[in-house]
């Protein structure tokens, strides 16, 4: 064994693990869930010394994003409180939250992600895939700058799962563009346990590399139209830094920050920023070289 050979093998292992890890999304309400659990714990043990950090006050109310009752979503009304805000009872009893990829906001050949709450027919992987695709094909992203790469009218007739591959029956519909293929693949493989997709009797399709597929930057959190208690901004992008601009509804600039994108995956890095702002409507704009995304949110 030469040192070069060992190095090559280690490099291959490292790359494979990094690429695999990069496919794992986290829930946007994870921090709210943790806070809800620590609050309950604190109440239970009544340890008064811990009370008063100020951070626990807002807690779980930020958790609910969009509550959709059926796989046929109504377009989310802008800046309305979800009808049934849910504070997850524990990490084990979360409302189903599915990732749906769209193209946008500026380019029709790059994907962005939104999380939607929806109740699939069952917990089965096939039903989760069907629910996520129902949302995707319905083409009603929360952010009006996002869109589906698929033409209107495509419906999912059935989903079957064999191993880690989902086979989707689209009644003969075919993807109009390569990015439409990836929109479907990334949406389906965001579901735990799925790695590939087959459309009808076609070949197994897998995720193309993130750097060639995802938008150069996007706002993970808060989502467009969301009502939040704290303005905790979470950004993903491929650059080393991004610029975050927060404007009030009257156009006044509340924050203008250069954020360093770190961590995340080797391909897609992330940054978080918490802004202390008064109640009101804000426009968040995040930019990198070659990319921009903006969301309108209400802080209460």
């Amino acid at each position: 064994m030469t040192p070069e050979r060992l190095h090559d093998d280690e490099h291959a292992i490292r790359r494979a693990l990094e690429a695999e890890a990069a496919t794992v999304d986290v829930r946007p309400d994870a921090l709210a869930t943790i806070r809800a659990a620590t609050r309950r714990r604190r109440t239970r043990f009544a340890v008064k010394a811990w009370i008063g950090g100020g951070l626990a006050v807002a807690a779980a109310a930020t958790a609910a994003v969009f509550v959709l009752d059926s796989p046929r979503p109504t377009p989310p009304a802008a800046l309305t409180k979800p009808t049934a805000p849910t504070a997850p009872a524990s990490p084990g009893t979360l409302e189903p939250l599915l990732a749906v990829y769209y193209v946008g906001p500026e380019r029709g050949d790059r994907l962005v992600r939104e999380f939607h709450r929806i109740t699939p027919a069952s917990d089965a992987v096939a039903d989760q895939a069907r629910a996520a695709l129902g949302l995707m094909f319905a083409g009603a992203p929360a952010d009006p700058d996002y869109a589906s790469a698929w033409p209107a009218g495509v419906t999912v007739r059935g989903v079957t799962v064999t191993g880690d591959v989902a086979t989707v029956d689209l009644g003969g519909a075919t993807p109009p563009t390569p990015i439409a293929v990836q929109q479907l693949v990334w949406t389906v493989t965001a579901i735990s346990g799925l790695k590939g997709v087959r459309i009808g009797a076609g070949p197994v399709l897998r995720r193309a590399p993130a750097v060639d597929t995802l938008a150069p930057v996007w706002l993970i959190n808060p989502q467009h139209g969301e009502v939040v208690n704290n303005l905790e901004v979470h950004v993903a992008g491929f650059a080393g830094t991004c610029r975050l601009l927060i404007r009030a509804s009257d156009g006044r600039v509340v924050a203008d920050e250069e954020l360093t994108l770190t961590g995340g995956s080797p391909a897609q890095r992330e940054a978080q920023f918490t802004a202390i702002v008064a109640s009101g409507v804000y426009v968040l704009t995040v930019t990198v070289d070659g990319g921009v995304d903006d969301h309108v949110v209400r802080v209460e």
Binding site: A22, P203, Q272
Partner: protein, 172 residues
Amino acid sequence: MRDGPNPEWDADQAVTHLFGAHYRPMVRLASLLLHERGLAEEIVQDAYVRLHARWHRLRDTDKALAYLRVAVVNGCRSALRHRRVVDAHLAASRPPPDVQSAEAGALDLLTQAAVVAAVRRLPARQREAIVLRYYADLSEAQMAEAMGVSRGAVKSHVSRGVAALRLTLERL
């Protein structure tokens, strides 16, 4: 954002900052150990909740991170012990050898899929060692702490794991 906790923080502040800096990598670490994303995220959330309760005793960057890692590795071990279907799941997740991808770079993706599948087939300690070494980039001392074994055992698990994975790489 700072990289690590400040001893002046209260438990809520510490959890908030450690969440920002380390939550996603921890979930990804757990996913690599478990091959189960939903459960991985629950285990990591549970680790943060435990850290919150423990913060008044830790109050230190390295200790808090080490505590999270131990909690996540132990949580994954425990979940794997209770998951009887794991073998069937692993068998089902092996990549088909002649998958045709619609995208460029398909060969690279297949190599990655084969390596990841091989990592999952490793014995539990070897898998932990490989993931902590090559994904989390931990030192031997940090790995020993996270896994609850000696540094000598860490070395041995890594070298056996790499040797097993090399067999997969040689076949590609």
